[in-house]
C-alpha cells in the first residue's frame, strides 16, 4: 500500500516520561510506551532500553498526556461534489492537527454515497490522499430521500462502517422500521438524525433569543418526538441504533431509559452543544447556526451531565464545512453547520477545566466510546493495537485564529476563542501525521 503523504516511520519508537491515559483499560499512569512496527508493544514504568534497536527513536514526553487518537463519528466532507468546501485531503490534514486519527465520513455528498462503488471511491481516495483513517458511512436510504433502503449488505462488505441519512431525519416510521429490521441481519449500525422535519423547521433554538430576534424557533420537542418514536421502533425491531447528535435534557433521559430496557441504542453529542449555548449567537452570527441548534444553558449543562454520568458515550465534532456562499447570508437564509475537527478536543477540554469532568472520561467519549460503538479496533492503547496516538498538553493556552485553520472552510464557531489544551503530536500506525513546532 502506497502512502506518499508520510515518510517511512522508524520501526521503533519509545515514548518516555509520559502520562499515559487509556480509557479502554482504565489506565492513567506515569509511564513509558514502546511502539514497534506501528503497533503498541509495551507500556510500563522505566521500560528496559537494552533490547531496543539502534534505530529506535526516543521521544521525551515531558509529562504530557499520551492517549489514543481521537475517533470522530460525524464529519461532513465535500468530496465528491463540494471540493471547494473540503476535500478528503484537507479534512485529513485538519483532523490530524486536531488529534483525530479516525473519522467517519457522512454520506451527504454529491452524489450521495449510497452505492458500493462510491464507498470504494472514498476508500481509494483516502488511501491516496489521507494521513488518517477515513471510514466511509453509507446512506441508509437511496439518495437520502427516506424512501427505499440502500444495499446494506453490499455496502457493509465494501467497507461502510455505519448507515445514516446524515443531516436528514427519516420521516417515515415504516422506512425506519424496515431499515432497522433488515440492518439487524448484518449487525449494521444505524446512525440517525433526530430533528422533525415539520416541527423542526425553524432556524435556532426556540426561546427568548429567537423571539427577540424575530427568528422562527426549533422547539426541543422537534428532537424529542422523533427520538421517542425511534426508541419504539428499535424496541420493535431490535436493531442497532445511534442517535448522532442530541441537544436536550429530555433526549438524554429518553436514551437512558431505552438503555435501561436493554435496547441496543447509544447517543452522541456535538461538541458545540457542550461548549456553547444560544446566547453565543449574539447578533445573527451565522457561524453559530448549527444543527442541532445551540440550546439554552440548562440544556447545555444537561448534555455535560450526560457525558459525566455515562448516559452519552460519544462526542463528535459535527464538522460541517460551509463557504461564504452559504454562510454570509441573513441568519434565516444561511446554511446550518460549523467546522470542528481542529477545535473538538480543545472545546471538549473546557468540560474538564470549567465543568469538572475528569479528563479520562472526556478522552473516553472522544476515542474509546465511538470506536467501540462503531466496532473499530482503534480508541485503545492495548498491546498489539495499532499505534494511533496523540501527545497532548492538556493545559496549554492558545487562541484559535481563523487564518491558522487547516480546513478548507472557515466557518468556525470558535474564532478568537481562548482554549486550554492542545495536541502536540499525532500518530497513525506509529507514523507522525502531525507535529506542532514548539
Amino acid at each position: 500500500m502506497k502512502r506518499s503523504i508520510t515518510s517511512k516511520p522508524p520501526s521503533q519508537r519509545l515514548f518516555v516520561n509520559a502520562r499515559v491515559i487509556d480509557p479502554s483499560q482504565d489506565l492513567d499512569i506515569h509511564a513509558d510506551m514502546l511502539v514497534t512496527k506501528g503497533k503498541i508493544a509495551a507500556i510500563g514504568k522505566d521500560l528496559p532500553r537494552d533490547k531496543l534497536k539502534k534505530s529506535c527513536k526516543i521521544i521525551d514526553c515531558k509529562g504530557m498526556v499520551l492517549a489514543p487518537g481521537l475517533v470522530d463519528a460525524r464529519v461532513f466532507i465535500g468530496e465528491p461534489g463540494g471540493e471547494h468546501r473540503e476535500t478528503i485531503k484537507s479534512a485529513s490534514r485538519a483532523a490530524a492537527s486536531g488529534g483525530v486519527t479516525s473519522l467517519v465520513m457522512m454520506p451527504d455528498t454529491d452524489p450521495v454515497i449510497d452505492d458500493a462503488a462510491l464507498v470504494e471511491f472514498v476508500r481509494q481516495t483516502a488511501r491516496e490522499k489521507s494521513r488518517i483513517r477515513i471510514l466511509p458511512s453509507a446512506a441508509l436510504s437511496k439518495g437520502q430521500r427516506g424512501e427505499e433502503m440502500t444495499e446494506i449488505g453490499l455496502l457493509s462488505k465494501a467497507g461502510a462502517v455505519a448507515f445514516t441519512d446524515g443531516r436528514q431525519t427519516i420521516d417515515s416510521a415504516q422506512m425506519m422500521r424496515r431499515a432497522l429490521t433488515y440492518a439487524g441481519d448484518f449487525d449494521a449500525l444505524i446512525m440517525a438524525a433526530t430533528r422533525d422535519n415539520s416541527l423542526g423547521g425553524g432556524v435556532m433554538n426556540a426561546g427568548l433569543n429567537a423571539t427577540r430576534m424575530g427568528l422562527p424557533g426549533i422547539p426541543r420537542e422537534a428532537e424529542i418526538i422523533p427520538l421517542e418514536r425511534d426508541m419504539r421502533v428499535v424496541a420493535m425491531t431490535r436493531g442497532r441504533y445511534h442517535a448522532s447528535t442530541l441537544s436536550t435534557s429530555d433526549s438524554v433521559d429518553v436514551i437512558s431509559r431505552a438503555r435501561d430496557k436493554g435496547l441496543d441504542v447509544s447517543a452522541g453529542v456535538a461538541v458545540a452543544n457542550l461548549a456553547l449555548n444560544d446566547n453565543d449567537i449574539g447578533s445573527y452570527r451565522t457561524f453559530f447556526r448549527v444543527s442541532p441548534p445551540l440550546r439554552n444553558e440548562d440544556d447545555r449543562l444537561a448534555m455535560v451531565d450526560g457525558i459525566r454520568t455515562g448516559k452519552i458515550d460519544i462526542i463528535c465534532s459535527n464538522h460541517d464545512p460551509q463557504d461564504v456562499d452559504t454562510k454570509r447570508l441573513p441568519f434565516a437564509e444561511a446554511a446550518d453547520g460549523a467546522i470542528g475537527l481542529e477545535s473538538m478536543l480543545a472545546a471538549t477540554l473546557r468540560l474538564h477545566h470549567t465543568d469538572g469532568v475528569p479528563l479520562s472520561r472526556l478522552l473516553y467519549c472522544l476515542s474509546t466510546g465511538p470506536a467501540k460503538r462503531l466496532g473499530l479496533k482503534s480508541g485503545t492503547l492495548e498491546i498489539g493495537a495499532a499505534a494511533d496516538i496523540i501527545l497532548l498538553d492538556p493545559d496549554m493556552p492558545w487562541i484559535l485564529q481563523e487564518e491558522e485553520l487547516l480546513s478548507r472552510s472557515r466557518n468556525t464557531a470558535f474564532e478568537g476563542a481562548r482554549f486550554q489544551g492542545r495536541v502536540l503530536k499525532t500518530f497513525v500506525d506509529g507514523r507522525t501525521v502531525f507535529s506542532r513546532d514548539a
Partner: protein, 334 residues
C-alpha cells in the same frame, strides 16, 4: 441639610461625566439597546420637524447635497414614500431602489448590493428586507449611516418612534401609560420595536393575541400576555392594532379571517372596554373588517392618520441625528 445635599447631587449630575451623552449612534438598526435619553432626544427633534412639515415652505437645508438611497427588498408604498419625503424635506437627493428577491441566491446579492451601493458613496441608506438581521449584515459593508426600515420579524425602529411620538403628543407623556399591542405579535417587527421602546419609556405593555400568534417567552421581554381582547383591553390608554398578513389567515395560524375578527377584531364594543379617552393606533395598511372595524378606524379615538404624519417627522429627525446635524444639541436632553 436636605437642601445642600440635593443641590450638590444635582451639581454632580450636571458634571460633564454624568451629563447624558449627545446622540452618537452610527446606524439605527433597532430600538433594543438604545438609551432612554437617545429616544427622548429623537422624539424632541421630531416634535420640531412636525412644525416644519406643517409650514407652507417645508424645505430645511440641513442635509442639502447629500444622497439618500431607499433600498427596499420588500414592497412598501407608504414607508418608502415617508422616507423619501423626509429626505427631500431635508434637502437630500433621494434615489429609490426596489429589489426583487425572487431569486434563491438573494443573500449573495445582498452583500454584493451593499458593496456596489457603498461604492456610489451614498450619505444615508434606508433598507427594508424580509429576513431578520439582514439590515445589520448589510450595514457592516456600508460606510454611511444605515436606517432599518424593517427586517423580517425583528425590528422596525422608526415605526416605534413615530408611534411613541403620536402617543406622547396625544397623552403628554409615555411614562405610566398602559398600552395594548393586539394581533400577530409572532411575526411583527412593529410589535418588537414597540415593546422595547415603550418599556424603555416606562409604559406598561400588554400583548393580546391568539396563542398561535404569540411567540414563546414573549413575557420575558417585559410584557403581559392576554389571549382575549375582553381580558386585555380594560384600563388601556392606547390600543395598538397590528396588521394580519393574508398568508396567515387561512388555517396555518388561525382558521379564518372571519373567526379572527369575531374574537380579535377591534369593534366599538371592545374599544369601549379600554379607558374612555383611549387612542386607537394601526401601523397600516389596515385590513378593515379583519383586525379593525371601519367605524373604529375612522372614529374619533383613531390617531391612525396622525401616525402617518408623525412618520415623516420622526424620519427627518432620525436622518439629521445620524448625521449629527440640526438642533437640540448637547446636554439639552431634558
Amino acid at each position: 441639610m436636605t437642601n445642600s445635599s440635593s443641590s450638590s447631587a444635582s451639581a454632580e449630575l450636571n458634571a460633564p461625566a454624568f451629563r447624558p451623552k449627545p446622540f452618537n449612534l452610527r446606524h439605527l438598526l433597532g430600538i433594543e439597546g438604545i438609551s432612554t435619553a437617545d429616544i427622548t432626544h429623537l422624539l424632541d427633534r421630531a416634535d420640531e420637524m412636525v412644525a416644519i412639515s406643517r409650514r407652507v415652505k417645508k424645505e430645511r437645508h440641513t442635509l442639502k447635497g447629500r444622497t439618500l438611497i431607499n433600498l427596499f427588498f420588500e414592497n412598501s408604498t407608504r414607508t418608502q414614500s415617508s422616507f423619501e419625503i423626509a429626505g427631500k424635506r431635508l434637502g437630500m437627493d433621494v434615489i429609490n431602489m426596489a429589489v426583487q428577491t425572487s431569486s434563491v441566491k438573494k443573500g449573495e446579492t445582498l452583500l454584493d448590493t451593499a458593496v456596489t451601493l457603498n461604492a456610489m458613496q451614498p450619505d444615508l441608506l434606508v433598507v427594508r428586507h424580509n429576513a431578520a438581521g439582514a439590515v445589520e449584515l448589510l450595514s457592516q459593508k456600508m460606510g454611511c449611516p444605515v436606517i432599518n426600515a424593517g427586517d423580517g420579524a425583528h425590528e422596525h425602529p422608526t415605526q416605534a418612534l413615530l408611534d411613541a411620538l403620536t402617543i406622547r403628543r396625544s397623552k403628554g407623556q409615555i411614562n405610566g401609560l398602559t398600552v395594548a399591542i393586539c394581533g400577530d405579535i409572532a411575526h411583527s417587527r412593529v410589535a418588537r420595536s414597540n415593546i422595547h421602546l415603550l418599556n424603555a419609556m416606562g409604559a406598561q405593555v400588554r400583548v393580546i393575541a391568539p396563542s398561535t400568534l404569540l411567540p414563546g417567552h414573549i413575557e420575558d421581554l417585559g410584557v403581559t400576555a392576554y389571549r382575549s381582547m375582553e381580558k386585555g383591553l380594560p384600563g388601556c390608554d392606547v390600543v395598538m392594532m397590528l396588521r394580519l398578513q393574508s398568508e396567515r389567515m387561512s388555517g396555518a395560524f388561525i382558521p379564518s379571517a372571519r373567526e379572527y375578527y369575531r374574537y380579535f377584531g377591534l369593534t366599538a364594543e371592545r374599544v369601549a372596554l379600554a379607558k374612555s379617552d383611549a387612542i386607537v393606533m394601526h401601523p397600516g395598511p389596515m385590513n378593515r373588517g379583519v383586525e379593525i372595524a371601519s367605524t373604529i378606524a375612522d372614529g374619533v379615538q383613531s390617531v391612525i392618520v396622525e401616525q402617518v404624519e408623525m412618520g415623516v417627522a420622526v424620519r427627518m429627525a432620525v436622518m439629521e441625528a445620524l448625521h449629527g446635524e440640526g438642533t437640540a444639541g448637547d446636554g439639552a436632553a431634558a
